[in-house]
Amino acid sequence: MKITTARRISQAFFLALFLWFCVVATVGERLWQLRGWPVNWFLELDPLTGLTTLIAGGSLYSGLLWGAATLALTLLLGRFFCGWVCPFGAMHHFIGWLGNHSKDPKERARRNAPHPAQQIKYFLLAFFLGAAASDLAARLLLGQGAAFAAGAIAIALVLAATRKGQGRDFYFIAVGVLLALWAVWSMAAPRGGASLLAGLLDPIPLASRSVNLALLPLADMPLRIAWPEPRFYQGAAMIGAIFLAFLLLNLWRPRFFCRYVCPTGALFGLLARFSLYKVGKREARCGGCMDCEALCEGACRPAGRLRPQECVLCLNCLSECPESAITYRPKPSAAGEVAPDLSRRRVLAGLGVGLAAPPLLGLGGLLGPNWDPRLIRPPGSLPEGEFLRRCLRCGQCMRVCPTGVLQPAGPSFGLEALWTPVLNNTIGTSGCQPRCVACSHICPSAAIRPISLAEKLGQGEYAAQGPIRLGTAFVDRGRCLPWAMDRPCIVCQENCPVSPKAIFTRVAYQTVISGLSAGEAGGGELAVSGRALRPGALATGDYYLVAGEVRARIRANTNAALSLEPGPGWHTPTPGSPVAVQVRLQRPYVDPARCIGCGICQHECPVSGKRAIRVSAENATREPRHSLLLKGAGPH
């Protein structure tokens, strides 16, 4: 078997496995459901997810340790992950082949030639690492005092000044240093923090998000395997369009994403320079047929001086060379190698911009006074600052959520929160179900930390601290039927899952027909005059006749007579005395001490557009700063 056949089998296998994991991430015990499938495995293998959460969040959570194995193997073998394992890479590889395999070999070799734009991914990597590290950097520098910070920057400036200026590179370093300075200064104010922006372009989170939130919901609509009902994700069009755009760009340049964009590939590239085994030529000279370059996936120039950091180990060159001039061995190519064409200063600039990004984003005040009460996070979520340092935006929580209430946050929530999970209680099949902790256990980076049912419900050892609150429901009295429109309803109260219910009612009798006077009584009926009644309209059991201070429930009515069900104290009104019709309303109130913010009331509210009861994030357990109530000061 040719080595490239083995590679294709490996790619197909891992792509199928990745898609299978996306399908089976459904709560349930059947074979095609979650059971014990390691659905996060690809996210965990991706070392950039581990590295960025380690830098930004301070720990390498659970399965993210797999990333270390990937890095170790990369040091031995080179970028095996890109060419043999990465499911996103396999998609690019396949579409690139579709779009290019029939082209003239010369044209293909031209498209596969190394291009300076391949540097971009290294700058992106620097940017994302910087964004993840800005908080750490600030703590390291400011922890030693401002003098240390100023000293370090001064040294950097001196070093920069003593290196010979290379035209525009001077501007890059100037900008980089200025931005780093700005970053450190901004960090002194409590509005900065790090942000795990890497998830936006990190290939496995990107592919997971795209498949989970765009591809699978489309594919599953007629199949109904992943979800029994159609699944909706707000803003999925943008997520899907970006995915599609990256796939289509392969028609222009094979492996466009891998060559120019992929920050994980860049990380592998930095290590692959030093890997034990490498692709290379046995002899410096060969026939120069360029067949290898027509087939080269990584644009790493196998025919000439090789760029080992770009080689994705597709091994097409090795397999197809008519002279067998190419080999894979623990020795650099006989024709020589070219180190990454990277300007240290540009990398520094990327890092500086990255360091500055979170403080810049922080100016929006999301972590401070301008916190967004619509940002209702899943149960178990860390406080917002820490949440943003860990959330990969991979979409796993939104995929596994049985109700579909977890949705990708759109741009209106701030760029730093883009595509992170947020509860939208009007979409999906229910609010957040009290007896479900699926999202907290699937989260690969513990942005949603794993919680037990007992902790979520505040039972057993958690009884003293009470249930986990996601927010609080507020009644909009301008839209609520019993409050604003004299119509009985209380669907919210009925559906409140808390015991005793967090929604309680107070009864109010509201006069809806006045100006009536009592007539003759007889045969269980009372005649009324003054206004014609709509026959049967008052027979719903919610209407009462009030005479003085006492009421009788109306059982039935004609246009001029009522059938009454006398209550205690009722006496037939004297003919001619004024009477009125009242509706008995149970008006809903929320007890914030009991409300867990599950959003089921909001989901069920019959005011179907903008609901008359809505949850917002006040009083959420994860942010004590946003608590609503004074402890021990309530009536109960």
Binding site: V27, P228, T403, L481, C489, I490, C496, P500, G541, P606
Partner: protein
């Protein structure tokens, strides 16, 4: 194509003219076919409508059994026995629909949903009576898949050999209750009902703040789709219309343990009350009239019972049916 500057020869002209003519004819035909001088009317896009037959078994009307027991499965068996056995209602080769209450994603111990052991036993008894297929369904309030799993009804029903049908947009059809005021052109969970011979309602007895009580009649709420919560503006009216909508073969109200407060969701064991009673019958108003008594209400206090009686669904005077009383202890 002829060369530039050359005159068109006749052959080519005829060929091109024919193609152009065909093109013109095609455009004209398409425009003729699609032309609409009026614009769409207000009722466009309405779903096809269905009718619901009566599922009552002839000669078995006005039957009622009240079983006193603290165990559900023996109570069910004894109650069915008192009604003449399930074989009196389910015949060989029939398709039976069991409408459970699976409204909430809550565990069976909280009694907010039909008891899974009871569902399983009823499925087995239907199968034993010769049913060709037993379907278990509901359109729950919380997420359907979670409701059936967490309530235990899904696994129990499947294990007993039933087909569990979850709601899906394609399973709904438009329905209008003849002479009804509220249920008009409303989505009905028709998929599970299509082609069934018998319908059995199996519901727990529960407290309900708006309607005072929930038992077998309110259980039909789970056959409605759409934004059915608007009907809470006239809860008594909708429950009595639901009673008119479904004429069941048999209904069973499980009040062995009742959800006596904080209903209909419950949420705590403290909301439960052992009421030791299971009511089975063919008159849903009579069955529910007994059931509300378990919650300390008299039928005359419950407006929807009065409305249903007035609409001819059944009688609140359940003693008139001469109920069979069974004491199991």
């Amino acid at each position: 194509m002829s060369g530039q500057g050359k005159d068109l020869d006749r052959r080519e002209f005829i060929g091109r003219a024919a193609k152009a003519g065909l093109g013109v004819a095609a455009v004209g035909a398409l425009a003729w076919w699609g032309y609409d001088g009026k614009g769409p009317d207000a009722t466009s896009g309405a779903a096809p409508s269905v009718k619901l037959p009566s599922y009552a078994v002839r000669g078995r009307e006005r039957r009622l059994a009240i079983v006193k027991s603290s165990h559900r499965v023996p109570a069910l068996r004894a109650g069915l026995e008192a009604l003449g056995g399930l074989g009196a209602f389910v015949g060989a080769g029939q398709r039976v629909l069991i409408k459970v209450n699976a409204a909430f994603a809550s565990p069976p111990a909280l009694c907010a949903t039909s008891n899974p052991e009871l569902v399983a036993e009823l499925v087995r008894l239907c199968k034993k009576a010769g049913a060709r297929e037993v379907i278990v369904t509901d359109n729950p309030i919380n997420d359907p898949a979670s409701c059936f799993e967490l309530s235990g009804i899904g696994p129990a029903a499947r294990a007993a050999g039933a087909r569990v049908m979850l709601p899906h947009p394609a399973a709904f059809a438009s329905y209008s209750l003849p002479g009804g005021r509220l249920i008009q052109n409303w989505p009905l969970l028709w998929g599970p009902l299509e082609g069934v011979d018998r319908v059995i309602g199996l519901a727990p007895v529960k407290d309900h703040h708006r309607s005072q009580a929930s038992a077998t009649m309110k259980n039909w709420y789970g056959l409605l789709g759409g934004r059915r919560n608007v009907f809470h503006q006239d809860i008594n009216g909708i429950i009595s219309e639901l009673g008119r909508m479904v004429t069941p073969s048999l209904v069973i109200a499980d009040g062995v343990v009742s959800l006596a407060r904080n209903g209909p969701t419950g949420g705590s064991l403290e909301d439960l009350k052992p009421t030791g009673t299971m009511i089975l019958g063919t008159d849903q108003v009579a069955v529910d009239s007994v059931a509300v008594g378990l919650l300390g209400l008299s039928p005359s206090q419950v407006a929807w019972l009065g409305l249903a009686q007035k609409a001819g669904v059944g009688t609140t005077d359940y003693q008139a049916l001469k109920p069979r009383l069974v004491e199991l202890g």
